[in-house]
C-alpha cells in the first residue's frame, strides 16, 4: 500500500485516519488505523491489546471490540462511496463468527459498500488476521445516509 512514488497517498491516509479515527473517540481508544482504502472500500485494523481480551484463558479479543471494528469500517466504506460527506448511522449490523479468532494477532476488517440509494447504504464486510481468504467473521450491514446538511452537524437519528 505504501507507494513511495505517490507521496499523496500517505497524505490521503492521514486525512482518512483523521476523519474515521481521530474524530471518533471510541475508534481512537481502540487504536484503529486505516489499513487500505479505495472508492467504496475501507479496511481498518485493530491492533491486539491485552486489555481488549474477552477470555483470559484463551487470550482472544472480545467480540465487542470486533463489533466496533466492523461497524467503524462499514460506516467508513459508506462514506467512501458518497460524492459528498454526509453523516451516516448504522441501522443494523449482522456478524457471523465463522472461525475462532487467534490470540496476539491484529484483526483487519475489509468493508465494501456495494449499493447506495438516496437514503440507505448496504455494506458487506469480513474480518481476518491478514489473509482475507480465511475470515474469522463475515458481516453485513445497512446504514441510513442523512441528506439534511443541518443534521450532518448537530442532528439526531430521530
Amino acid at each position: 500500500m505504501s507507494d513511495s512514488f505517490l507521496p499523496q497517498k500517505d497524505e490521503i491516509r492521514r486525512r482518512l485516519e483523521g476523519r474515521y479515527i481521530g474524530a471518533v473517540p471510541h475508534n481512537r481508544a481502540l487504536n484503529l488505523r486505516v489499513a487500505d482504502y479505495r472508492p467504496e472500500h475501507l479496511s481498518l485494523a485493530l491492533p491486539y491489546r491485552e486489555d481488549l481480551v474477552g477470555n483470559p484463558e484463551t487470550g482472544v479479543l472480545h467480540g465487542g471490540c470486533i463489533t466496533s471494528l466492523i461497524d467503524a469500517a462499514c460506516g467508513g466504506a459508506v462514506i467512501m462511496s458518497l460524492v459528498a460527506p454526509r453523516r451516516v448511522a448504522t441501522l443494523d449490523l449482522r456478524i457471523d463468527y465463522v472461525r475462532p479468532a487467534l490470540p496476539h494477532q491484529e484483526v483487519i476488517c475489509d468493508a465494501h459498500c456495494y449499493k447506495v440509494t438516496r437514503h440507505v447504504a448496504f455494506v458487506r464486510a469480513a474480518a481476518h488476521h491478514g489473509d482475507n481468504a480465511s475470515p474469522i467473521a463475515t458481516a453485513s450491514g445497512t446504514f441510513v445516509v442523512f441528506r439534511d446538511s443541518r443534521r450532518d452537524v448537530d442532528g439526531d437519528s430521530e
Binding site: A23, V24, P25, H26, N27, R28, A29, E50, D51, L52, V53, G54, N55, P56, E57, L61, H62, G63, G64, C65, T67, S68, L69, I70, D71, A72, G75, R87, A89, T90, L91, D92, L93, R94, I95, D96, Y97, P100, V153, D154, G155, D156, S157, E158
Partner: protein, 145 residues
Amino acid sequence: MRLRDAVSAVRESGDFGPLHEAIPYAQFMGITAELVDDDVCGRMQYSEHLVGNANVPALHGGTLGALMESTAIFKLLWHGETEAVPKTINITVEYLRGAKPQDVFAKAVFTRRGRRVANVRVFAYQDDPDKPVAVATAHFLLVQD
C-alpha cells in the same frame, strides 16, 4: 481469578464483580451486571472513550453491541450448568435511537435455550426500558467444539 472460578463465585454470591474483574475487555468498557428482581441486568458505565460521534453526541454503535453481547453471555453463565463460556455464533444488532452520553442498561431474554445452542434477544436502553436505543438477536454455542 480464573474465569471459571469467577463464574462459580458469581453463581454463589449473585455479585457479578468477579466476572467484571476477570474479563479485561469488561473493565476497559465499564461493562458489568447486577441482579435486579432476580434478572440479570447489564450496565455500561458512561465514559468519554465510548463516544462514536462527538458532534451529536452519541455513543459508538459497537459499544452497544458489546454491552448486549456481554449481557447475553452474563445471563447464560448465570443460568448455565457449566463454567464453559458460551461462544457467539452470530449477532445482529439493530439501532433504534441515538444513545446519549450516559450509562446504558441491557436486559436479555432467552428465546430458546437448547442443549447446544441458545437464541437470545437483548434490549439496550437508557432512561426508559420501553424506549430501547438498540436491540440484538444472538446465537450462542453452549458446548465445546
